[in-house]
Each structure stands twice: as C-alpha cells, then as structure tokens.
C-alpha cells in the first residue's frame, strides 16, 4: 500500500476537493459577514398593516336611530336581537350593515371559563341570533374570535359559544401563535399622561384582516377597575402580548380601543347584567336580567361610545359623566371625525335622545 504511487487523476481530484472546500468556506464567510454585528438580530416586523374602518362602507343615513333598545322576556332573545337591529334601520334591518358575500367577524366576550347563566360572557343565544341575522343578509363566512384570559378552548366550551357557533356554521378562530401581528396605532411612543396607551402592539389580526365587517357582541358587566366592561372594553379581547400592563392606565386603553376599532355595529347583551363582583362574577345573585332596567334587553348601536353611556346609566345605574374612558373616547373619535373618518362617538346619550336618535322597542 505504502509504495503505491499517486496517480495523476487521484492527485487532481483530491487536490481539487480541498481547493473547492476552501473556496466554499471563503465565499460562505464573505456572504455571511456582518461587520456591524446586528444583521442577525431579531427585528420587529415592519408591518404597515392598519385596521380597517369597518363602518366606512356602511351607507348609514344620518337621520336613522343610532341606539336601538329592545326589551323583552329572557326567553325571547332572538326576537329582541332582531328588534334591536331592526330599530336602527326599519327598512333594511341587518342588510343595511351586512351585504352579500361579506366576511363577518363577530367578537363576543368569552373572557372567562364560566357558564352562560353567570353573565361573565356573551349569552350564546344572543350570539346565535346575530349569526342567523348575518347569514340571512348573505354573509359568505362568519368568524367568531376572542382572546380569553383563561384557556381559550375551555372558555369557548364552557360559555356555550363553541356549541352555538358549530350549530350555526360559524367558524371559531382560537387565539393561537401566528395569528397575532404587531400593528402600529401611533407612530410614536404613547404618552400615558396624555391619555394614550397604544403604540405598537400585537393584536389578533388574522381574522380581522380577512373580515369585511366587524360586529361586537358584549355583555354589560361591572368591572373592578374601570367600573364597567361594555362595548368598548370588549375590544380588549383582540389584544395580545402582556396586555395586563394596561391596567395601570385603564381609561387610556379603553378609550384607545374606541379609537383602534371602528366596528360595523355593536350589540350590547343585557339579558343578564353583572351588577357586582365583575368582571368575573361567579354567583347567580351577581346578575340581574336587564340590570336596573328591570327587564332583559338587547341594545344595537352604530355609536359604541353613546351606547356604553346609555348602558352605564340605564343598566348599571351609574353616572356616565364620571366614567373617564367615555370622555376620552369621545375626544379621540372627534379628532378622527375631523380627519375625515366615518365614525360616531358621542359621549352623551342625552344629545341623541333630544335629536330622537334613540328608539325603544318592546318584544
């Protein structure tokens, strides 16, 4: 073996192999060279995605009622939902808001692992009625989503939302990794002293990007920190990340949510109003059907701020003038309207009442 002579062919192939490998190493090193040392670091996604104004395409006459209340018996939830939505537009009803081939995102409050009768989550029958209305209007796809505090699967199951969605053919989108995207809500860092909270923040964007219309369906609840969780607070369930940091500036964040989300329609579920121990509740005695109204109710509105003010006064029996986030939301939305956005955001429901924009139906 030792005296075997190296052939020319073998010399060339072996030599070339080493040269090629050395060359590849040099080229690879050059290509991957990072003189600043930061090319390989994680970068925040530079997404320019913005949330749509889901109200922009609704041709809503200015003279139509903006808050529509339907009261009735607890067993007639579907009729109440129909009457409440019908009150906003007697001629077209839901078709004013949802048109054929729309993808509708319905955002109930599924925040906790609680059965429906405790009022901590949206009543599944209210959701069922809303899904049916959307289907009747010709919606191509109906998505239900929320980012609960507790285990999403358990919350959707226990609240009865999953069962209703499956029975009615709506699609549940669970808040899983990869469905969130960091969006820019302010180009600069939010100034907490000026009532701001959101700058860049991850939200449950995947279903929102697909949707053409967004309907919020929120239960009316007492809240330990911001006094009440209603239509505006419901959008909190779209936030991802360590959103519990915002509790230090709770009124900033709730009013920023009013700015962030321009829904097609909001529907307040006052079939069971949680009067105390909110937002979790836990006892049957914590909830009263219709709250201070004394009768179960469903309220539909195109103005989430005014709707919240109305609900705060009539359902929880508290003074909306003292609810800081309503005032902040009103101011923020006025800025938007001045910038040409199609929005409603009236802090005082009394103004609407004077203009005859609040209607009440009894079922």
């Amino acid at each position: 073996m030792a005296d075997k002579r190296l052939t020319r062919r073998e010399c060339l192939t072996r030599g070339a192999g080493a040269v090629l490998a050395a060359g590849a190493a040099a080229v690879g090193g050059y290509l991957l060279y990072d003189p600043e040392g930061d090319a390989g670091l994680l970068k925040l996604s530079d997404s320019n995605a913005r949330l749509n104004n889901y109200f922009a395409e609704v041709d809503f006459p200015a003279s139509n009622p903006r808050v529509s209340i339907a009261t009735g018996d607890e067993r007639r939830i579907e009729q109440m939902v129909r009457a409440a939505v019908g009150g906003l537009d007697p001629s077209l009803g839901i078709k004013r808001f949802v048109v054929k081939d729309d993808v509708v995102l319905i955002k109930p409050n599924v925040g906790f692992d609680r059965p429906p009768y405790l009022g901590a989550t949206t009543h599944p029958e209210v959701l069922r009625a809303v899904i049916r209305l959307c289907k009747e209007a010709g919606a191509r796809k109906i998505i239900i989503t929320d980012n609960p505090i507790e285990s999403p699967r358990a919350c959707f199951a226990k609240s009865g939302i999953r069962q209703v969605a499956e029975a009615e053919g709506a699609i549940i989108v669970l808040p899983e990794r990869g469905r969130f995207e960091t969006l820019t809500f302010r180009d600069r860092e939010p100034d907490w002293r000026k009532g701001e909270a959101l700058g860049r923040w991850p939200i449950l964007y995947e279903p929102l990007a697909e949707a053409t219309k967004v309907i919020g369906v929120a239960p009316i609840k007492d809240h330990n920190l911001c006094s009440a969780s209603m239509n505006l607070k419901n959008w909190y369930g779209l936030l991802g990340g360590r959103r519990n940091l915002f509790h230090q500036v709770i009124h900033n964040i709730v009013s920023d949510l009013a700015l962030m989300m321009s829904p097609t329609l909001v529907i307040a579920d006052a079939t069971r109003v949680m009067m105390r121990n909110g937002p979790t509740g836990g006892r049957v005695t914590d909830v009263i059907p219709g709250g201070k109204l004394g009768r179960a109710a469903v309220i539909a509105s195109v103005d989430p701020v005014a709707c919240d003010a109305w609900c705060y006064q009539h359902l929880l029996g508290r003074d909306p003038a003292k609810l800081a986030y309503l005032k902040l939301a009103h101011e923020k939305i006025q800025d938007r309207i001045a910038a040409g956005h199609r929005r409603f955001g009236q802090f005082s429901w009394k103004i609407y009442e004077r203009q005859g924009l609040i209607v009440t139906t009894s079922v």
């Binding site: 692992d113 505090i149 509790h247 121990n277």
Partner: protein, 570 residues
C-alpha cells in the same frame, strides 16, 4: 428473509403459498399486535387533552388504560396503600396470562419495548461491525472483536462465537431484579418510586415532557397548545439516552433496567409454556441467537425469567429444534433469575435505607416547600407519595400548562410528580381533568361541585390549593403608587378574594392621589393562582404569588406540622 433470485422464478402458486405463510407466521402476528398496541398508546397520549375529554367524556376511562394494565403500578401501589385503586384491577389481564405464558407483555404489549426493538432493528443492520458479526456467526467467517486473540488460521469454535454474541445472556441482566426489590422495599415504607423506571410511566412522562412539545414547536395547534415543562431536558435526555443504548447494547433498558420486566420475570416462574430446545435436533449453529430479543439463551438452557416470548428463535431455527412447549422438562431451563441471594438482600437494604435518607431531609414534614402546590383533589402529601407514579398524565391534560413535573420541591421522592407553577398557568375554576385521568388516585376523581364547594359540598367549602400573598414592595399600588389591581379583576371567586382598599396617598410631587390597594381575604382565597399568572410585575417573583399554606388537603393533619401558618378555609 430475503428472496433470492431463484425464488422469484418459482411458479406463482408456490410464491403465493410462501407469502401467505409469511403472513400467518406467529412473529408477523406479533409485529401486528405490537404495532396496534404502540398505536393505541400514541392515540391515548395525543387524546389526553382537556378539549378532547370535554368533548368525549367517554375517553376518560381509556386514556390512562396503558398505565392501568401495568402490573407493577398495581402491585407497588397495593404495597404502599394496601388497596387496588379503581382501574388498576385491569392489571390482572396482564398478570394472570403471564403466570401461564411468561413475559409476553415485554415483546407483545409494552409500547416502550416496541420502541426499543424498533430503534434497534432500524440502526443495527448490516454494514456495521456489529451487524456483520451477527451475520458471520453462522457462516463461519466470524472475526473475533478487537482485543480478543484470533487464532491464526482456522475458524474459532462455535461455542466461542456464541460466548461473544450481543444476544447472549449477560450478568448485567440481574440489575433489574435488584432495582425492583429496592423499589418494592421502599414502597413498603410508603414511598412509591417505581414510576422513575417503570416503562409505561417513563414513556408517558417522556411523551408529555418532551415529545409532544417538540412536535408542537413546528406545528402549533395540531396537538394542542404550546407547552413548557420545567426540567424537561432531563426527561428528554433520559429518553434519548436509553433509546440510544440500543445501538451498543440491544434492548439495554428491557434486559437490564426494567423493573416491570423483572416483576414479570419473577411471575413467569410458574409458566406452563416456554420455549423448549430439542438437543437431539439441535446442531449448535447458534442461529437462534441472531434475533433473540431477550438474551435468554435459547441455544442452551433457557433462562425462563428473561424470555420475552418473541418467537424469533423458533422462526430462525433451520432444524426445527425449538418449539413453544407445554410443561417442558425442568432441567432444560434456568427457572428463576440466578442472582445471588446476598445481592437481593443488599438491594432490599438499599430500598430500606432510601426511606430514612429521603425523609430525613424533612421536605415533606417540617421544612415543606411553600411552592409545593398539588393539583386540586390531591390527597395529603404523605399519602400522595404513596400513590403518585409520576406518569405525568395530569400534566399532559392540564389545559393551562400550570401543572409541572416537580423539580425537587418535595425532596428527592417527589421528582417529576405534579406540582403547580402559576407563572406557567393557573388552576382553571371549572376544570377537574387532572383527577379524571390519574390512574392511582393520587389526585382524586372529584367533581366540579366538590372542587368549588357547591351543592352538597357547600358546608365543607371549596378545595383550597394554597393562599395568595402580596409582596408589598413589588406591588405597583402598594409600593409604587401606580394604579393596577389586575389581580382583583381576574380573581374568580364571588365575592372576590382579592378586594380593593381605597386610599388617598400623597404622591412625590405633593398631589393627592386616589389608589386602590389590593388585599387578600384568606377565607375566600382558593389558591387558583390566576392572580399570580396575570400579575404585570414579572420577574423572578410576581408581586402577588400563591403558596401552599392553608391548602385543604393537609387541613386534617395538623400533627404533621404542614401549612399551618395560614388558617385553612372552612
């Protein structure tokens, strides 16, 4: 069984007959049974999630079935608790046939054994020195391994070849009996440690701790949510290490370490049937060793306690000298493990010493860890250590990932037993899934009513896992004059156990500010830990945290000096 060229040219009918014979061979049937059992095991593992059990309540009695048929779990738990808990009676369907047929479980049922056999088969093929050596054993071209002195010219004697074969019986195989004896003696004192090495517990734990989370990394939501488990690296390392051993020592775990195999080996002493060699037909070719799974010496006196009843030797014997015989001659076998009695005594002493050594640390009595929060329905700690087999089914099923494999919080004994970590998740109010899947009753099968103290349990009150405490220096309103109280918001009891105290404080700049300061009502707190999980003050310790103090399960054991600093709820 490779087909040679000439076989392909045979008439169609003969070919068909041969392939039919292949399918009806007992080893083929065995492989099918093993595959089905392995598939069932995987199915049970993947189905053990809160969502599945919620949707299909009938699954509850199935997902832990592999653990329930495990005779070692039943026997050891019967030693510690003097009872057979619910489904553990199923172990008789393995135990009784073993008394007649031998250790068939190891090569027919055991999914962990199947894993080892499969990996060994996959990586121990031709092309390696080992594989070549195995093949050459019978063809006369055998080369002795390095280090052995090769006799110049002429093949070594067959007996010498057989001495060196990797499937020969080796003395290390005693070790598993010592492990078993040590563990059972320890069990007699009330510390159940079989779960550390019981193959079913070990495999379930490995699946929960590392395999399923690893599969979830690239495909979230396919198998449930993304999971984290403290100390998972060791669980993974153990799985990998034991499986990798097959490359150097075939079925190392099954032959050398497995305490369940040891128990079944002892039980097979009375078996009516076993592999029997006819010395008149046998020509000492040694082919029977080629695929012997158990290293039980089918070419000589059969080691009855070792044999897995895999039937490979019968299949491989060209002379038809081997058969599965009823009541064969006693002198052709080595009946029991031929381990020295003194070593058994030594193993017993090891188990006996383990108890005082482990308990002397005081970890389960005086110096209990306040972090040792057990799942809802868990029995008192001393009983818990008698029952928990560390299979980690509860960890797999927990919907919030709160239940974690313990990392020495309860001392040496509790390694990998379930403990709640509220930085990972919280105990969901209307969930009792962990108790539903627990095969040994370490976590009792409680209802939601019992957990929450509703209905007939109203008088006794809810099950309390521990008590929340506020770190006043870290808490934003308490220590920093910043409004927060997320803890109050998420507190699930009614009335809330965390309540706000309205105070007026003077800020640094002299302004009067109104703050809500959170306080814990220890009579209401159930220790669910959602406050700890949601607290915005992250870091090594949240501003509110739960400790085991006041837990319901040790309420009736004040003499054990555990958890008395906070009065238990009524």
């Amino acid at each position: 069984m490779s087909f040679t060229h000439s076989e392909k040219e045979r008439p169609r009918a003969a070919h068909f007959r041969d392939s039919w014979r292949n399918w009806t061979r007992i080893t083929t049937v065995r492989v099918i049974v093993q595959t089905v059992m392995f598939g069932l095991f995987l199915a049970f593992v993947f189905l053990t999630t809160f969502a599945n059990l919620d949707r299909l309540p009938g699954l509850r009695c199935w997902v832990s079935k592999m653990l329930e048929i495990d005779p070692l779990v039943a026997v050891a738990a019967a030693i510690t608790t003097h009872t057979i808990y619910k489904g553990l009676l199923w172990s008789l369907i393995i135990l009784i046939p073993t008394l007649f047929l031998g250790r068939f479980f190891c090569n027919w049922i055991c999914p962990y054994g199947t894993l080892h056999q499969f990996v060994g088969w996959l990586f121990r093929g031709a092309g390696t020195e080992d594989g070549a050596r195995q093949d050459s054993c019978t063809s006369g071209t055998f080369r002795p391994p390095r280090g052995a002195d090769a006799t110049a010219g002429g093949a070594p004697a067959v007996t010498e070849l057989l001495q060196r074969h990797p499937n020969r019986y080796r003395r290390y195989q005693h070790v598993k009996y010592y492990i078993l004896v040590a563990m059972l003696v320890a069990a007699a004192f009330g510390t159940l440690q079989i779960g550390l090495l019981d193959p079913i517990c070990l495999f379930y734990r490995s699946m929960t701790g590392v395999v399923v989370p690893a599969l979830n990394m690239p495909a979230p939501s396919l198998l449930g949510d993304y999971r984290f488990h403290q100390g998972a690296w060791l669980i993974g390392f153990l799985l990998f290490g034991l499986v990798a051993m097959n490359l150097v020592y075939p079925r190392f775990f099954c032959r050398v370490l497995c305490p369940l195999g040891a128990l079944l080996g002892l039980l097979s002493r009375f078996a009516w049937w076993r592999i029997e060699r006819d010395p008149n037909k046998c020509n000492n070719c040694g082919r029977c060793l080629l695929h012997c799974e158990a290293a039980c010496d089918p070419h000589a006196r059969l080691r009855k306690a070792e044999c897995f009843v895999c039937f490979n030797c019968i299949e491989d014997c060209p002379e038809g000298a081997l058969r599965f015989a009823l009541f064969p001659a006693k002198e052709h076998e080595v009946t029991g493990p031929d381990a020295a009695r003194r070593k058994f005594i030594f193993a017993g002493v090891t188990g006996l010493l383990f108890y005082p050594f482990a308990r002397s640390s005081g970890r389960v009595t005086r110096d209990f860890s306040s972090k040792l929060i057990r799942p809802p329905g868990a029995v008192e700690e001393l009983e818990f250590l008698e029952r928990c087999i560390k299979c980690d089914q509860c960890i797999r099923v927990c919907p919030t990932n709160a239940i974690q494999p313990d990392w020495f919080e309860s001392g040496l004994e509790g390694l990998w037993s379930p403990v709640l970590n509220f930085r990972m998740g919280h105990c969901q109010l209307h969930c009792t899934a962990c108790g539903q899947v627990c095969p040994t009753g370490a976590i009792q099968r409680i209802s939601v009513e019992e957990k929450l103290g509703l209905g007939e349990y109203a008088e006794r009150g809810p099950i309390k896992l521990g008590t929340a405490h506020i770190d006043m220096g870290r808490c934003l309103p308490h220590g920093k004059n910043i409004p927060c109280v997320v803890c109050e918001e998420v507190c699930p009891t009614s009335p809330k156990a965390i309540y706000g105290e309205r105070v007026i404080r003077t800020a640094r700049d002299g302004r009067q500010i109104e703050l809500t300061i959170p306080k814990v009502d220890i009579d209401r707190c159930i220790g669910c830990g959602i406050c700890e999980r949601e607290c915005p003050v992250v870091g090594d310790r949240r501003a509110i945290y739960v400790t085991a103090e006041g837990e319901t399960r040790s309420r009736d054991y004040p003499e054990r000096d555990r958890n008395r600093s906070v009065r238990p709820c009524k």
